[in-house]
Symmetry: C2
Subunit: 197 residues, 2 copies
């Protein structure tokens, strides 16, 4: 099989993607080769273009194709709100809801003593700079409702509470959620944060 290396190399690289293993990588590459015009050529073009142009936004840490991501480059989104998220994937999830009209700040993870991740590893200093530089009226902490996420949220709140208004996402029953399937923590949070009907 000496000469099949180009396809072998592609299978090996595809198998390194999250969610794909050796078998599904083989299946994906065979599918690509069969759908050459519809999928393989466009995918090769798209991945080549992203490999050249993808970069991190120097302001918020979002992934884009220029130094400033589309959100930071759009003056209409400078409404004084900054939504702080752990990860670019979280930013994309917020954007899909189409409800937030301000800008973001991607921390790049959570504080973790075990992994030696402190504030300087997390773009927290950059967040402090942005509060000084941009006319920020509200910081919305949209960190994951995990122990690490909430620890990080508390740390940021401690740092910033004297300088800017701080809010965080509401915790409670997810839309469509059934009480019987919810964990105790969520039910407790939803009960504590109950509102008048």
């Amino acid at each position: 099989m000496a000469d099949r290396t180009e396809i072998d190399v592609l299978i090996e690289l595809m198998a390194k993607l999250p969610g794909l293993g050796p078998r599904s990588a083989r299946r994906a590459v065979l599918h690509l080769v069969r759908k050459r015009a519809l999928l393989l050529t466009p995918l090769a073009d798209a991945i080549g273009r992203v490999a050249v142009s993808a970069r991190e936004c120097i302001n918020c840490g979002n992934v884009g194709t220029s130094d400033l991501c589309p959100i930071c480059a759009d003056p209409q989104r400078a409404n004084g709100q900054i939504c702080v998220v752990e990860d670019v994937a979280d930013l994309w999830a917020m954007e899909r809801s189409k409800v937030f009209k301000g800008r973001y700040h991607v921390l790049g993870g959570t504080l973790s003593a075990l992994d030696a991740i402190g504030p300087n590893e997390l773009r927290i200093p950059q967040l402090v700079h942005r509060i000084e530089d941009e006319a920020v009226s509200e910081i919305i902490l949209a960190l994951n409702a995990t122990v690490d996420g909430q620890t990080t949220a508390h740390y940021i709140a401690d740092q910033l509470e004297t300088r800017v208004e701080l809010t965080s996402l509401a915790q409670g029953v997810p839309i469509g959620g059934e009480l019987d399937y919810l964990d105790d923590g969520t039910i407790t949070a939803a009960l504590n944060a109950r509102r008048k009907v």
Copy 2:
């Protein structure tokens, strides 16, 4: 988000791969962008090269990067045996076992009256030609043990039984298989094909 199109396009294309959906495609693309040097650039190179060079072997139907696949180009594999498989994935599975030293013939599917797939859609005429052109002593039918696979095997056997020796893969208990978990059909086949110890 107008300017994020290059990354959006890549996510959309990745989501069309078997085994990936929109969420895992987003995760894969973020992973790629983060591992630019280690994964994104090599993958862009590899997929670009495959997009240019991948083609079907004119002799057996295997996928390779030249008109004759490495197996058909290798004179050492012209041992008179041709292993008939449904699909390139089956050929690769046979090759991984490293036990078969002959050549292959990929049918490209199975006969199916419902889907209007007859012998001419299946590279069966090419198989007949190869028996005439190459010095073939044995055809090994390695079709899947499904109804469609076995129907196709019977059809090929009918066509070729006067011209060449025909064999098929043994059916029985898989290595490591537990009887309690096997279906009745497999147990029946294994019992009928029992051998002296």
